[in-house]
Symmetry: C2
Subunit: 370 residues, 2 copies
């Protein structure tokens, strides 16, 4: 085993701006900056000076804080991070891999992801590179070492709606979770119905054609994530889908692309137990081995964990996969919660400093959702 | 000491297409792809499948092969690499940092680098991030650890001509080296004279105004490299200019931006001894501590080293700085030469495989120069 690497696929979709879809949607700054800031937080523990701090007014931090907390507990070198630019809108200080993506259009456009095929193929070619032994390393000397296992994760506001679009287009179970405590699933279904009509597509009309499903009813993160999964499968590299319904949609795309390799889906109990999503049934349909991590957020006396326990955020940026790794490494739940609290407090302190900046404008106001 | 990190600033300038300036200039494929492929070679030891192999017909490989060879000898984890996108034209499989650069225009345009100020400032802000202890790491836990030393390097075909443009605009000694055995310095001087005239600038007209010098007569790599040097100086981070006359020009820009910190310039004897460049005098003018590494290329019985000994390539992609690190680590010159031969042979084998591809077209034909 060559270790584990977290691959965060980060992008944006204009779908997030649709009223009522995403809590971040109403706030252009957060909608466009959150994925860029998430990469920075996972990499260094804080957003770059130019990025807003993705923490909601209720104190619910981006799930990137949870993933970051796990990296700090395991030692960052034990969980290297790779970032893929799948349509970022705002600059990021993180180092990113290019797969030819641009920000996704509104899912109700006829073709929200025109470059879906390119992004899928470039991500497919990239997967074995990301898993190559000894990252940045000496392939000549270590030719016999095993490739790393890839944990594929996402960050894209509005992404559960495009996931619903893709699942519907493929003819799969049309249910997704939400980062809002009350899932606006009916609203999402109406948006997806409009999206399919605009693309002259019926439910199930893109079965067996994952590129068409993404191109007509998805987002660039789904194109890149499913390409990575297919590329890992091609190369015999172990890959875990580290996420909830969005990664399940990426898994569905990979299945429709002919991938029949075992695909674990590592998420949180917050998503797995969401009755509006029925992730266990979707995972069973797609032959994804579902595992759900629960660090006992309900037991923590901290606003961040309380917000998670209320059903805010739920998943994203590899949170469930990271929590599973902490469990596998034998880290106690209490230590995980303590570190999440510490990372969140650091982010809140940054926001406070930032809010006191020269122009007096706070950099973060809305909630964060996907 | 927090170790050493190599920061490769990679970009392109339309200046490379000027007849007789750059051996790569005549070959659009190499001119646009070389910096992208160089990042891949330094990171993984070979170009990505879509990149050409930057090896000249005489068997002279890109200096990236030398830097890569040193990384393999020291262990890649001992010399981590960071890449900055300072105006790449072709895609790269390497992970890159964004500083807002676009490919540079022809130096004879009135404003070849319109975004010079943004690129300089963003690179300046990035420098302390790149040097932060424990890369991607745990700042909370290791807060007391020292930042790393940065080795700033470049890859940009045509870059010695824009370096001459900037030195002239600043009123510094107008002499640069060349990757061609016979330096077309008079041709470069004529191009720079045209460039200054087009920008309504006299020699020395941008003294004390480094942003204007780059904006009107430089390239985006010089903007980013000088920004990194200034940012490192701001943060008290040790920085070495790993290159020849182009890094000297970046050092000149930093001096004109008010940086008075000691700045070592680590290059090869191939550049330092080039009489057409007079790098020792330029370094003395700018108070750069010049050190030149010589791994005895003349003694090697390999076409790659023979080409270097004849004066091809000479420097680039941090070659001189990397050779100095190998020396500092006590690696024998013979071992360095042997590993350079091995990396080059791998690249040539890739090119041979590539030349036999479906469409029969070889991917690399011209020479590589800067």
């Amino acid at each position: 085993m060559g270790g584990v690497r977290l691959v965060v696929v980060a992008g944006t979709t204009a779908t997030a701006a649709i009223d009522g879809i995403s809590a971040a949607g109403a706030d252009t700054d957060l909608r466009t900056h959150t994925p860029s800031a998430d990469l920075e937080i996972v990499e260094t523990g804080r957003p770059a000076p130019d990025s807003p701090v993705p923490v909601s007014p209720t104190g619910c931090p981006t799930p990137a804080a949870v993933t970051r907390a796990v990296r700090e507990l395991l030692g960052p070198e034990s969980l290297p991070v790779e970032a893929v630019d799948a349509g970022l809108t705002a600059p990021t200080a993180a180092a990113v891999r290019d797969v030819g993506a641009t920000p996704g259009g509104d899912v109700r456009d006829p073709e929200p992801v025109p470059e879906a095929a390119t992004v899928f193929e470039r991500a497919r070619a990239l997967a074995p590179e990301l898993a190559a032994p000894n990252e940045g390393g000496d392939r000549a000397r270590d030719a016999e070492e095993e490739p790393a296992e890839l944990l594929v994760a996402e960050t894209i506001p509005g992404g559960t709606t495009t996931a619903l679009g893709v699942l519907t287009a493929l003819g799969e179970r049309a249910a997704v979770s939400s980062s809002l405590p009350a899932n606006p699933i009916e609203r999402k279904r109406r948006v997806v119905a409009e999206a399919l009509a605009a693309s002259d597509l019926e439910a199930g009309g893109a079965a067996g054609d994952p590129i068409a499903a993404v191109r007509l009813a998805g987002d660039p993160v789904l194109a890149a994530a499913s390409g990575l999964i297919a590329g890992a499968a091609d190369a015999g590299v172990d890959v875990t889908l580290a996420g909830g319904t969005q990664l399940a949609a990426a898994g569905a795309l990979a299945r429709h692309a002919g991938v029949d390799r075992p695909l674990p889906l590592a998420t949180t109990t917050l998503v797995a137990d969401d009755p509006t999503a029925d992730l266990p049934a979707l995972a069973a349909d797609l032959d994804l081995r579902l595992a759900a991590a629960d660090p006992g957020f309900g037991e923590a006396d901290h606003p961040a964990m309380a917000a998670y326990a209320r059903g805010e955020a739920k998943e994203g940026v590899g949170m469930g996969g990271a929590l599973a790794l902490a469990e596998r490494a034998g880290v106690a739940d209490a230590a995980v919660r303590e570190r999440i609290a510490a990372v969140t407090d650091r982010l809140l302190a940054e926001r406070a400093e930032d809010g006191g900046s020269a122009d007096g404008s706070p950099r973060s106001t809305g909630g964060v959702t996907r």
